[in-house]
Symmetry: C2
């Protein structure tokens, strides 16, 4: 006979703290081409192996020369300079310049050794083929980018734990760093269990349903920068469940079990988890709806989460836990979810002592604040989430929200 499930629920934050107390992630760095490292996390501090720019260069199109040659120059009394030719881009100057000489140079061009400034072409006037008038005095260093002005050799350019953005990849490549030691994307194992589950492509006999948790959880893991590893469907038998969980556990950094709906499968989950390593199950029961019967465990220094089989519950609980676990693995501060201010269309009741997650539609309104319209429906209907634009959390110790309340909806 089935027996009702009794357990002490704890808030999600407390459950996560419990995991933290038993888990020290030890990601092993891997080497990746810098060009492929977008959004990846540095495993070590990065110092520049060279300076940038590597040489003194012009910031404008103009003439490289000695600033002193222009001192006192003006529109009415221009300085005359002898033009020694034009610098070809990508080459070092063939000759140096002497006092009274200039070299035609382009933006980014390398300055001759004795030049200490560049005058913009707009402030000059060509005179014949090889002379130029400079209409203004130019200060030493004007329009010159000094060697090492962007970054010096040995400078710390990015710290361990930094997540790489497009400009970071540019900066690293600019100083010749073409490979990086990065934290690995955590592998999230996902195992479903239940005799009623069939792969999505299979024909369904009556009483069976398609296993969608493997795919919603994979997508969620991918969105968080992790690598989902789908481990298939275990039968409702202790042997098969244990065998598949053990194999999957060895191949991943975080394991999600999505237990079937039957009581036996639920009972198996605790035992299967405890068999994976110490300390095993730390908490059974979260003060969140949906998702109350979630199991949290650490086995042999890897988090293992027993999610409800119900697809809505599994996804909404995983959404609260997985981004935080992935961030911890990558030594990042978990990001707070983005929120949209909205006006609630109707009263929402809630039971104190648990956090409710309510799917809502967001509807544009004349005053610019969207209307949040709750989508009611049995909590195991996945299309309540497909129809939703976001989730409204109703916090632990409130009785709900009144109609017209301004609430913070999390787009989802």
């Amino acid at each position: 006979m089935p027996s009702p499930e009794f357990f002490q629920v704890v808030p999600v934050a407390d459950a996560l703290a419990l995991l933290d107390a038993h888990w020290q992630p030890q990601p092993q760095p891997e080497t990746i081409a810098s060009a492929d490292a977008l959004n990846r996390v540095l495993a070590a501090d990065l110092h520049s192996p060279e300076r940038a720019p590597a040489f003194r260069k012009s910031a404008v199109d103009g003439y490289a020369m000695k600033a002193a040659d222009t001192f006192g120059a003006s529109q009415s009394l221009p300085a005359f300079l002898q033009v020694r030719g034009e610098l070809k881009m990508g080459e070092a100057p063939q000759d140096d310049i002497d006092a009274g000489e200039a070299l035609l140079i382009h933006t980014g061009g390398m300055l001759p050794t004795s030049a200490d400034a560049v005058v913009m072409v707009e402030l000059t006037q060509a005179v014949g083929a090889d002379e130029v008038e400079v209409m203004r005095a130019v200060a030493p260093g004007e329009n010159v980018i000094q060697a090492g002005e962007d970054v010096a050799e040995g400078d710390l350019i990015l710290p361990r734990g930094h997540r790489l953005r497009p400009q970071d990849i540019g900066g690293l490549l600019a100083v010749g760093v073409t490979e990086l030691a990065l934290l690995p994307a955590p592998r999230i194992g996902i195992l479903s269990c239940g005799d009623e589950l069939a792969p999505p492509g299979a024909a369904l006999s009556p009483g069976r349903v398609r296993d969608i948790n493997a795919y919603t959880l994979s997508a969620l893991a991918g969105e968080c920068g992790a690598l989902p590893v789908r481990l298939g469907i275990a039968a409702d038998s202790m042997d098969d469940y244990r065998r598949r969980a053990e194999a999957g556990f060895a191949a991943c950094d975080i394991l999600l079990l999505s237990a079937g709906s039957s009581v036996s499968a639920r009972d198996y989950t605790r035992d299967v988890i405890n068999g994976l390593g110490a300390p095993g199950v730390l908490q059974h029961g979260l003060a969140t709806k949906p998702g109350k019967p979630t199991i949290l465990a650490v086995c042999d220094n890897k988090p293992v989460i027993g999610l409800p089989g119900n697809p809505v519950s599994a996804l909404l609980v995983a959404r609260q836990l997985l981004p935080v676990l992935i961030a911890r693995f990558l030594r990042q501060t978990p990001q707070l979810p983005a929120t949209v201010r909205a006006r609630l269309s109707q009263r929402v009741a809630s039971v104190s002592g648990r956090e409710d997650w309510l799917p809502v539609r967001l509807i544009e309104s004349a005053d610019g604040t969207p209307i949040a319209e709750p989508i009611f429906g049995k909590s195991n209907l996945i299309f309540t989430l497909v129809k939703a634009d976001g989730l409204l959390p109703v916090p632990l110790n409130t009785g709900g929200f009144d109609a017209g309340s301004i609430v913070a909806v999390q787009p989802f």
Copy 2:
């Protein structure tokens, strides 16, 4: 001799409107496995090929029976039901039930034909091996999920243009949709031009720099859900530039040219673009800094953007244009950039008539509002962006911001 560049600048929004007026994106749908479709965009409305759930199922663990058999039942006067056995998960009931009978059923189990309700196990009491007492009256339909209650056959489940989330993939797989017609990710061709440019892995001779634009722009395109196609480096010669641009143009949906710094390369860019197709160059000059000399074109119904060669300018201009072009291609409304409220550490001056983009550091402060500290430096130093946490736009028609102003920084 180089001549200064004169052109009429227009605000970025106006330039984008000009592109829109000459560009009708015609993405050709492609078929992709639903499991791989996260963040992809539906090419057509999607109707459900079947109902879900496919059969009437129990929402709880309990006993399936006829509700009428429990009418009047109470703690003190329970209803007695004969238990006909236990439904195995994933199977159809072998027998129907008669009046006075019940079937032990688990969450998600398929109801026998004549059952119209399920009583939760918590409200029952087993009596011997095959009888159960029900302590409460149960209403018809209670704890039953009707066939088609989640979605009916033929229902519009997701509209054309919808970007797929984890729950959408779940919903689609739940009704057996394993393949989808999706809009293709736009291919963004990226061609750099300039004799001074070397690939990042190459050894540098004096006067040469590494081509980083190809990589910063690839990363930006990837972040926006597009497929970057790196087209290499063209020499500072009209022939090579044109040949590579033409080949790349044929293989992409949007072409970015990052012109070298030399005047000749800049001059070539207009001609190369105009050679790619009509109408050609639409606008030369944006009221934005950095990025003023940007060229916008549509050639043969594809946008072509001539970006400055300066890596900072190229990235900051592309960041203003590319997400919008990619959204248009995918028939999405471009998203406004996220912003963080911050307090400006010092006065920032700006010239009216152009929008300035200033890299800033964000520094935590005691009152919770971060301090935005401008990073000054010559605008072609990529490490000004590497050191930045975000960008502060100083709008077109302001003279800047005073120290202590509350400003909206765009994390970047």
